[in-house]
Amino acid sequence: MNKEISDHNLGLYLHWPFCESKCGYCDFYSVPLKGRDVAPLLDAFAIDLRSRVAECDKQIDTIFWGGGTPTTLEDDNLSIALGHIQNATSNHPIREFTIEANPATVDERKAATLVDLGVTRVSLGAQSFHQNELSALERLHTPRDVPEAIRIIRAAGITHYNIDLIFGIGGQTLASWQESLARAVELEPPHLACYGLTYEHGTSLTKQLKLGHIEACDEQLEADMFLACKDYLERCGYEQYELSNYAKPGHQCLHNLIYWKNGSYQAVGPSAAGCLGNIRFKNVSDINEYIRLINSNGHAIADREIIGETERALEGLMMRMRLIDGLDLADFLRCTGINLIENCRNAIARLTDSELIVCDESKLRMTRRGLLMADTVIRELASELDPPSGMSLNVVASRPIGDA
């Protein structure tokens, strides 16, 4: 009854809710550290971690520790946290353990600690190599901090690292974007994530935009930046495998692939979201409340949702189409019982006519133009997606909450 969309095992997502300061575009749950005592959170984190991992009936093979910025932890606390993670997952064959870091938050000591305690991959938030753009994004570090951080990471022996970049910043030009890309490529990252700036609800940048204090990037320019990025990185030997993600062969992020293939992942930490089979849950987004709940209940889950077959199919479509490789029709049929070609006949015809997608017997894939219009494509397909009748019955028959 609960068909697996992903062939993967299980991922483990950990959320650390502290940063040096809040970036202007960020809507993750994170708060400025400001000399806070992290000990109570570390303790709660450890309890949460142990019980969540103990609950897994499958092998965890990827870990992603994000946030927030885990590397804002002082070296001793970083060791303690990583020790908890290592202990909790010692029986699991971890293939990839990513930690998120910001330039100017990693030094040699911390880098050595990371390597010693099992971290295999570092994702570095560089965002831009121009000071004016970093300031516009309300980032603390300088362009010079980036190569330094990469040097430290590499010196410690980490070969698997990612650099995050942002385009579409107000005031950014195509030339400055291309320069940031080139500077990043010089640092030979095996993986790059290039995000179009999004004005998320409630962020500082969104407020400034609404007040007219800043201007959004021109849409056409943003589209040009997207394609320029794709073309340049492909020339440099990277493969775009997801709308915003590029990797050298063999360096795709296994953990993130779990999300895009609708696999299962455990979640630990305030505001962390997990999904086990057809149950999705989210921890409370408040540090004190998180600590209180962990200490009194052993878990801090605030929202739980059973994903019915219909929702699952919609999610499958929405996430799979983000992968450049496309959506495997036979696989989709097997997982959801839906023959997409039949089901979305009109939308597929329209999208094919507009040259936004191509469709052969085995796959549905975006064209170059389609990538720029991915949301339109997904919306069009979703609007026609109709699960075969009788499906809703399965929702009633799904397992009770907590019986994951």
Binding site: E222, L372, D375, D386
Partner: protein, 599 residues
């Protein structure tokens, strides 16, 4: 059997919310027809939708016994709908009565529908008893209300009965008035069966329940009856009365109100207004039939995404079994495909039918903007009626286009006269009369082209008068004017469902505003969309919806999935009300934008 002198057939008419349902409940309770507990739910409004919209759509009724001065009377109450769109249904019920209670809210005073209903009662020649209700309210001024009635309708103020349907005050006095003032049914010298069909309802188990008022003769189970106009004959399987639940009786006789069952499958087999008589002993004096309902407002229903034309047809057929007050017929639009052209009594009626179709038939409907019937005279002298601008023949053969005109009466506090005149003149209204009901309240009479007021006139009136204004209209005929057809092209494709017939003086302005509205309604696509307004092939206005260059969510990871999916579900829901025209998705709101006459 009760002799005629001890029978009273009556209805309650009122402006909406003046307390008709509550008063009906109180009457039944006082007469002992129902207990207080049974009345917990206002039982006269028995359809979900009616309850939701706060109006009574189908007439309900109750026969009750009442002891007065030592004698027992049979009082038959017919409930009537209370909304302006249902003049026709009210008139059906009134013809079956000898008297009406004209109910007025003591705090609100006379309203537009009070007047309209009173006119219908006068037309049906029934005895009117004015009832001023809600006298328990702190703001009640019953004497003033009675004076208002005297002013507008000439009903002497001292004839009014003061009641509170809430507390029961005045109810006994009201019963006395019903018995003393209303005439009993007139005896019929002929003694042949003459039963007036005034309503019909479909019951899944029992077939069509035909509601009748007997003017002469008797009928009972086993009789072979004949519908005089339809000419069809049936065997009566049951006769009964509503008390208020339907219950079988041995027979119905002259003066009675009740129902007949005769194994009738569809409502279409029963003509409201027809006379039933006995096949072997037919009357030679059938009752004057009712007027057929006059559908004046038309629009098209097209299947929305997920719904196919046959599904929609099924839904129509199913609903039609229960309600024949609207019309529907297949239509096809170049832009929108196969759908149905529907006729309604008014806009509220349209909304109710649409919601019932969607709910009971499980279909998605994309609706075009309502239009009115136009009368077109061709150069060869033929006169035709068109129900949609797209039916307008080529202008080279058209001699004259005439639009439906209605008389409207608007009742407002005197302070708002200026505002009401303003919004009315904007809608090409002509003001004919101002009548003071009292020093502070006036009735304004207008003549409007129906097409100018069908959409939002009531809403505008309400907001211009802080909710105090009420209006009622009656269509009086057709009148010629300088009218032209305005065509709208989306992405170079004429969309017939968007064309409108407008006055030439207003055409250019209207066309410009219309495509500006469309520009807001239609979201950007991955290509540029030109919007044009044209009269007779000549483009008079143009706008462009810019192409969307980029539409992609940058980040989508584990924590985003749920939220993004919900957004997608919402968009999917919105899509249900869009219509794909070529490559462009036009939302429901766009079809309605042609109704916006602007300020």
């Amino acid at each position: 059997m009760t002799d005629l002198t001890h029978i009273r057939n009556f209805a309650i008419v009122a402006h909406i919310d003046h307390g008709k349902s509550t008063l009906a409940d109180r009457l039944m309770e006082h007469a002992g027809a129902v207990s207080k507990r049974e009345l917990k739910a206002q039982m006269l409004d028995d359809m979900d939708l009616e309850r939701e919209m706060g109006i009574t759509i189908k007439a309900n009724r109750c026969s009750m016994k009442y002891k007065f001065e030592g004698e027992e009377y049979l009082l038959n109450l017919l409930d009537t709908p209370g909304h302006v769109d249902f003049h026709y249904e009210v008139s059906r019920a009134l013809t079956a009565c000898e008297g009406v209670l004209l109910l007025v809210d003591a705090a609100q005073g006379v309203q537009a529908q009070t007047v309209a209903n009173a006119y219908l009662a006068v037309e049906a020649a029934t005895e009117i008893i004015p009832v001023i209700n809600k006298i328990d309210l702190p703001g009640a001024h019953p004497e003033d209300c009675a004076l208002e009635l005297e002013h507008v309708l000439g009903i002497p103020a001292d004839e009014a009965i003061f009641t509170s349907a809430k507390t029961g005050q005045g109810i006994d006095e009201l019963f006395a008035a019903i018995i003393k003032r209303m005439p009993p049914p007139a005896p019929d010298p002929e003694d042949k069966l003459r039963a007036l069909v005034y309503d019909a309802k479909n019951d899944v188990h029992r077939g069509v329940i035909t509601h009748v008022r007997l003017f002469g003769g008797t009928m009972k189970r086993g009789d072979k009856m004949r519908f005089v106009a339809a000419g069809s004959e049936r065997i009566v399987t049951e006769v009964g009365k509503f008390t208020p639940k339907p219950g079988a009786v041995d027979s119905l006789s002259a003066g009675d109100v009740g129902y007949v069952l005769a194994s009738i499958k569809t409502i279409a087999d029963v003509n409201i207004g027809d006379t039933i008589t006995l096949a072997h002993n037919p009357t030679t004096r059938p009752l004057p039939g009712y007027q057929a309902p006059q559908q004046m407002v038309f629009c098209d229903f097209f299947p929305g995404p997920g719904t196919e034309t046959p599904d929609l047809r099924d839904a129509f057929e199913k609903l039609w079994l229960n309600d024949s007050s609207f019309t529907y017929e297949t239509t096809s639009s170049d832009a929108l495909g196969i759908g149905f052209r529907c006729g309604f009594l008014g806009l509220l009626h349209m909304k109710i039918i649409q919601e019932r179709l969607e709910r009971e038939g499980d279909v998605n409907i994309v609706q075009t903007a309502p239009t009115v019937t136009y009368e077109v005279e061709l150069k060869d002298g033929t006169v035709m009626h068109i129900e949609s601008p797209s039916e307008l023949p080529d202008l080279s053969v058209v001699a004259d286009i005439r639009e439906p005109i209605c008389k409207a009466s608007v009742i407002v506090p005197a302070a708002y006269i200026g505002d009401v005149l303003k919004i009315s003149l904007e809608r090409r209204g002509t003001h004919s009369k101002t009548e003071y009901l009292s020093p502070t309240r006036v009735m304004l009479n207008f003549e409007f082209p129906l097409g100018e007021i069908i959409y939002d006139y009531y809403d505008r009136l309400k907001s211009a008068t802080k909710g105090y204004g009420t209006a009622d209209y009656d269509v009086t005929g057709f009148r010629s004017d300088n009218l032209v057809k305005l065509d709208i092209l989306v992405n170079a494709m004429p969309v017939d469902a968007l064309s409108v017939i407008v006055h030439r003086d207003k055409a250019a302005n209207r066309g410009r505003r219309l495509i500006q509205r469309l520009k807001k309604e239609i979201s950007r696509h991955q290509f540029e969309i030109p919007l044009q307004a044209a009269i007779g092939g000549k483009i008079i206005a143009r706008e462009t919806i810019a192409a969307m260059r980029k539409d992609v969510t940058a980040k989508c990871y584990g924590g985003d999935i749920s939220r993004k999916r919900k957004l997608l579900e919402k968009q999917k829901e919105g899509k249900k009300r869009m219509k794909q025209v070529g490559m462009v998705a036009i939302p429901q709101g766009a079809f309605m934008s042609i109704l916006d006459p602007g300020d």
